[in-house]
Amino acid sequence: MELVERIISNPVMMEYVWKPLVVILILLFIVLTLVAYLVYAERKVSAFIQARLGPMRVGPYGLLQPLADLIKLLLKEDLIPAEGDRAIFKFAPIMSVVCALVVLAVIPFGWGVATITDINIGLLFILSVSSVGILGIILGGWASNSKYPLLGALRSSAQMVSYEVAMALALVGPLMFAKSLSMTAIVEAQRADHIWYLLYQPVAFLIFLVAGVAETNRTPFDLPEAEAELVAGFHTEYSGFRWSLYFLAEYTNMLISSAIAVTVFLGGWSFPLLDRLRPEHPGLFTLLSILVFAVKVFVLIYIFMWFRWTFPRYRYDQLMDLGWKWMIPATLANILITGAIIMIGQETLGLTKVTGGEYGERLVVPGLAGKAYFIGMAWLVLVPLTWIILAIINRRSYDFNLRAQRQIRLPERPATDDVFGKV
């Protein structure tokens, strides 16, 4: 009895087990509710874009729709294909959803207590875990023993390989400024610097956003579940609760992609002038920091939804083209040019000074002139130079300038007007 008590009240247990456990439970509750309402938001946003109302029947403005959907999903029959691999079929959606949720652990939702844990390889952890998550899609498609899910799974594996690379490489640029892989430290660096890395790294942000859409399998990159082509893609054979797990994973991934983008490029929970509150009202500051983070994330999620309801879908080979011929060269160019800009700014011009950060790490903070230099270089040199490199690489590819190319390719009009004599 005493032993149990000692284990429970052990400060180490307290720090590493009980406190995180409570935060995890709270976070899970919030995130799962949030995901349910993201589906509602998606339907409302799509309705808004498509000149209709969206869910209106269940509760005021359809606000209880997610609850009704949940009940419906839980009551549905759970079908398993006769010749499918039962064990893997059951395991695959769990894998997808667990990988999506685990990533939440390292995301700084706000200042102080709002972060479950801060590990110094935060970004690497996120990238590796979310790669495993797509394995859930592949396994699910394969275990269904059906052709449409198999095609969906094949597409998703190809997509994973191409876009994970671009996504990871896009993050290297801002990391060169933050000089840390820890999510908290990245936010801290931007806060101390009074800058958002979006201003230093416009190309990387754009690529990360596009890769994020591709990673979450949303239009225009929703090939694994392209409704018109593959019925429902990898989850064609799934029903009821298992299907809802995939759904949950998809929306959680969208949340995570936005959260990473906010953390790395948009300053995380920091906001100009908000820091003044910290010494006197730490509680209020924490709350406000969470709010700031949430607003930023929802703005990005709205952009994701906007994409989905405006764009047509890429074809499989075009998706590969975009990944390998546009995005990956662009990220590599971005890394190279950013490195050069930093070297020149830091070593040659001496525009930065080194200070200690809040977490004891070494921060390289540029002064006002340094900031102007970095921002100016990013928008006046980095963006045009990357575009030129891309244009050089792709000038011969068919999708470089479709309209111009079309006019070149078939100039003469076939003289068929008088074939039928009349007209």
Partner: protein, 377 residues
């Protein structure tokens, strides 16, 4: 453009692992109960075969056992998204065979109605075609405008889809009060809405990527396959029954036949968009010239056309809709044969799709614009 040259890798040669994928009859993108048997190498279509007949009702045989007037509603149910046009094809064939004169007012109203129907049918095509390619929002925009047309039909005939609008020798009803204003109001907003769709699609990089160079049908191939309608015109052949063998009052009106140049999915899309504009133009002209007068010519109580045969075709939204009618002098037709544009255009699918990918097959089905009610009859 991705289109694999399959000449190098002959069917059955070592190294190719083909998969047979059965697309349909229950599939969201086959526009009904079309079954396509695809032979795939990876995602590339090596071969495909369309299996039709899931919606076969034997309309032609049924028609042999019905009086001429009872056949009219069966035609609405062929291409059920263009009921008025189908009705017109049959009724004109009977009128031609029996030598019935149609008063000018009825002819003008028929033109207005068929052109409205063409717009409605093309809007449905636009919506489903864009949705197949992934642009879901266009679907609802197109339905919003289609709804306006269907409202006009509902006010006129009391039905929206299978209207049974016309009658041998003229029309059932004269226009309702406010018909002209409602049609004009629709024509006023319509170009603006069309521009709205084109803003989303015409210059969209993804849309261009998915349609330019996909499913190219040269003019020669198109004529060999005897495709008609926008599919033929997309390939650069200026052929429209309304111009070639004018029926009703089309020869009195001023309008253009839009043609494409490259015969790909994008050109077929452009042709249909332009056709909607031309239809609006025709409607406005017909409204301006709409004469007063009777709406029904001299029609005998029991229609007994003299023994003989007639082939009459009209330009339905899908292409040339022909009716071949043989009369033996009784009130029942001896034989009735329908030339369905969808079915004949569907034959071009194999030619278009081989070498492309699965996703392109979907785009091509939408681009041909089939309605299974008409394909299977």
């Amino acid at each position: 453009m991705y289109q694999r040259d399959l000449g190098a890798t002959e069917k059955g040669s070592p190294g190719i692992r083909e998969m047979v994928l059965n697309m349909g009859p229950q599939h969201p993108a086959t526009h009904g109960v079309l079954r396509i048997i695809l032979k795939l190498d990876g995602e590339t279509v090596v071969d495909l075969d369309c299996d039709i007949g899931y919606l076969h009702r034997g309309v032609e045989k049924i028609c042999e056992n019905r009086p001429y007037t009872h056949i009219e509603p069966y035609f609405d149910r062929l291409d059920y998204v263009a009921g008025v046009s189908n009705n017109l094809a049959y009724i004109e064939a009977v009128e031609k065979l029996a030598g019935i004169e149609v008063p000018p007012r009825a002819q003008y109203i028929r033109v207005i109605l068929t052109e409205l129907q063409r717009i409605a049918s093309h809007l449905l095509w636009l919506g489903t075609h864009a949705m197949d390619i992934g642009a879901v929002t266009i679907f609802l925009y197109a339905f919003r405008e289609r709804e306006e047309v269907l409202n006009i039909f509902e006010n006129y005939f009391g039905a929206r889809l299978t209207t049974n609008a016309l009658r041998i020798g003229g029309l059932f009803y004269d226009t309702y009060p406010g018909f002209e204003e409602q049609v004009r109001a629709f024509c006023r907003i319509f170009p603006e809405r069309l521009n709205e769709y084109e803003t989303i699609l015409n210059e969209n990089r993804i849309w261009l990527g998915r349609t330019v160079g996909v499913g190219v049908l040269t003019a020669e191939e198109a004529k060999d396959l005897s495709v008609t309608g926008p599919v033929l015109r997309g390939s650069g052949v200026k052929w429209d029954i309304r111009k070639a063998f004018p029926y009703e009052v089309y020869d009195e009106l001023d309008w253009e036949v839009p043609v494409g140049e490259n015969g790909d999915t994008y050109d077929r899309y452009l042709v249909r968009m332009e056709e909607m504009r031309q239809s609006r133009h025709i409607i406005l002209q017909a409204l301006d010239r709409l004469p007063q007068g009777p709406i029904l010519g001299k029609v005998p109580k029991m229609i007994r056309p003299p023994a003989g045969e007639v082939y009459h075709s009209i330009e339905s939204p899908k292409g040339e809709l022909g009716v071949y009618l043989v009369s033996n002098g009784t009130s029942f037709p001896e034989r009735l044969r329908i030339r369905p544009p969808s079915q004949i255009n569907l034959q071009a699918l194999r030619k278009m799709a081989i070498g492309h990918m699965v996703a392109d097959v979907i785009a091509l089905i939408g681009s041909i614009d089939i309605v299974l009610g008409e394909v299977d009859r």
